[in-house]
């Protein structure tokens, strides 16, 4: 029963997911929208509580066992508690009962998000430039036929899309464009076809209960 009921639910909701694809009637579309937006939101809210509990537990354990770099776990726990209190009692833009400013210094969630969280994310994103350089170096080392081909193609495209390319040969930009729009797109479409068929097959396997790994524990 513990496994049959989830399997039945998956089958029912799987079919409910397919029907709106072909039935445009508002009755069907509204049910679909309600499942996707409302029910899923409730599930996410519950799962978020579980997730945050797990995060705190892992870091408490790290501090307790004094594992490597355990001190950083304190930063996480303190940041978590401070932002939770400010968010819950101070409101998003400081409209809650908790005072979230001292003079002209504001520390409401929106301000914290814009001045701490976003710059940190942007910093990580900026690191991509360096990672790209190191990855390109590795990929373009002409050790094999494929790597050499990749190197030559990348070189043509890089030269072709900058003004220098046109100065070298007026055909170079259009050749670079051709590489991007013909062989590149052909390869991508091949992968996409496989992906689309794979998605149908995987969905069928799950809806029909053939693939059950996702079911998790317990009989």
């Amino acid at each position: 029963m513990k496994k049959k009921f989830p399997l039945f639910l998956v089958f029912a909701f799987g079919i409910l997911g397919i029907i709106p694809f072909i039935v445009p009637h508002p009755i069907v579309q509204n049910i679909d929208e309600s499942i996707r937006n409302d029910i899923l939101k409730i599930l996410v809210a519950f799962a978020l509580v579980l997730g945050l509990g797990s995060l705190l537990k892992v870091h408490m354990d790290k501090i307790k066992r004094k594992r490597e770099s355990w001190q950083y776990s304190w930063i996480l726990i303190i940041s978590f508690l401070v932002s939770s209190i400010i968010g819950l009692f101070g409101g998003v833009e400081g409209a809650g009962p908790l005072r979230t400013f001292i003079g002209s210094f504001h520390f409401d969630i929106q301000t914290l998000y814009e001045n701490i969280f976003m710059p940190l994310g942007a910093t990580m994103f900026a690191l991509l430039a360096f990672y790209m350089a190191s990855a390109s170096y590795r990929a373009f080392r002409a050790r094999s036929f494929e790597a050499t081909l990749l190197l030559i193609t990348a070189f043509i495209i890089m030269i072709g899309i900058i003004p220098l390319g046109e100065k070298i040969s007026p055909h170079l930009p259009s050749f670079a464009q051709w590489i991007m729009t013909v062989p590149n797109v052909a390869g991508q479409r091949g992968i996409l076809l496989g992906v689309a068929l794979g998605i149908i097959a995987t969905s069928l396997k799950i809806i029909l209960g053939i693939e059950r790994n996702w079911l998790g524990g317990g009989e």
Binding site: F21, I22, V23, P24, H25, P26, Q29, L43, V44, A47, L48, L50, G51, L52, S54, L55, K57, V58, D61, F117, L120, G121, A122, T123, M124, F125, L127, L128, Y131, M132, S134, A135, S136, R138, A139, Q188, I191, L192, L193, G194, V195, L197, G198, I199, I200, A201, T202, S203, L204, K205, I206, L208, I210, E211, N213, W214, L215, G216, G217, G218
Partner: protein, 361 residues
């Protein structure tokens, strides 16, 4: 007399054959109005669309530039409407005859998607046919996939080195097929980890994915008879922020130095940060995604990459479950049929100039 003559000179030809009909295959609340271009189209600023509920009092509801021949009007269902279209220039405006009354209503069937639906059914039938054969015990040949063959070696290496295995499910939601496929692979990897007593680290980006992943790993340990070896803290929620997740997982890789990293699921820009950090720690890396934009990064920085459909085939390949292998066989046949149709249609399209390629739009 002069005024009548001037009006005759500057009069515009009205748009021809104006017709209005309920938008087909939609959820209602829309009517399409179509017309033929006015003979004076080149001299027009455009066309004005007028609507009436009683056929007498017409109100302007839209304007389109010259050269345009159709307009979709937002309406209320089960209410009658009449339409007129006017050809408009800077100095004149000529209205067409009103259309017969028309009404919008929601449809129960999207006829435009029937071809996709039939293809989906045929393909589904093919898969079920091969699953049926697999169930009867027929031996099925599946080509070797290097990335999946390396899973055993990767787990073995971690065991020998006494180091953990890192498994990242990416940034996909639980309803994404890539995430579901990754959860299936996680189950197989967790079974191997349980068997060889290798530590598994699985940091998650989505709360729901975390709860499902945790149950899957727990079940895997139970299935191989090692429920005691399951560490509930091995699968945990890290953050739902993209770059915070990248920073967190990179930190784990640098600190814990896993022998093997799995990056399987749906990834965005963080893919390269993760794969390059993993490569710098000397770990064997197996990646798999159906995110086309991230595939080049994984191919460059990882030892093995599951490209697109290989990701979906993985759990069947690793588990060797006959029913799952049957589905892969069905997929291959589906691809063969689509490939054949595309090639034949392209040749026909090229040879006969027949607009057969339009079928694939």
């Amino acid at each position: 007399m002069t005024l009548i003559l001037l009006a005759a000179i500057f009069a515009l030809a009205p748009p021809g054959q104006v017709r209005a009909y309920d938008t087909p295959s939609d959820g209602g609340e829309a009517i399409i109005i179509e017309w033929q271009l006015s003979q004076d189209d080149a001299a027009l600023t455009g066309y004005e669309i007028y609507r009436s509920e009683d056929g007498v009092d017409f109100q302007k509801v839209g304007f389109l530039g010259r050269g345009r021949t159709s307009y979709e009007d937002e309406t209320e269902d089960d209410k009658t409407y009449f339409y007129k279209v006017a050809a408009v220039s800077d100095t004149a405006r000529t209205l067409s005859e009103p259309t017969p009354q028309v009404m919008s209503s929601p449809q129960w069937l999207n006829r435009e998607k029937i071809n996709i639906f039939i293809a989906m059914f045929l393909f589904g039938g093919l898969i079920l046919y091969f699953i049926y054969h697999a169930r009867k015990g027929k031996e099925l040949f599946i080509r070797k996939i290097a990335g999946l063959q390396a899973v055993d070696d990767a787990v073995g290496r971690a065991t020998e080195m006494g180091k953990p295995i890192l498994y990242s499910l990416g940034l996909g939601f639980v309803e994404d097929i890539a995430t579901i496929a990754s959860l299936n692979i996680l189950s197989e990897v967790a079974k191997k980890c349980a068997k060889y007593d290798t530590q598994l680290i699985c940091p998650n980006n989505r709360p729901i994915v975390y709860t499902v992943a945790r149950e899957i790993v727990k079940e895997a340990y139970t299935e191989v008879g090692r429920p005691d070896a399951f560490d509930p803290d091995s699968v945990y929620f890290l953050t739902d922020s993209q770059f915070a997740y990248a920073a967190g997982v990179s930190g784990i890789m640098v600190r814990e130095k896993p022998a093997t990293n799995f990056f399987i699921g749906y990834f965005y820009a963080e893919s390269l940060i993760l794969a390059e950090t993993g490569a710098s720690t000397g770990a064997i890396q197996i990646a798999g995604t159906d995110a086309l934009a991230q595939l080049p990064f994984f191919i460059t920085a990882c030892d093995y990459t599951l490209i697109g459909e290989e990701l979906y085939a993985a759990s069947a390949y690793i588990s060797r479950e006959p029913l799952l292998l049957g589905a892969i066989k069905g997929e291959d046949w589906g691809k063969l049929i689509i490939g054949t149709v595309l090639i034949v249609a392209s040749i026909l399209g090229l040879l006969t100039k027949f607009p057969i390629l339009g079928l694939f739009r």
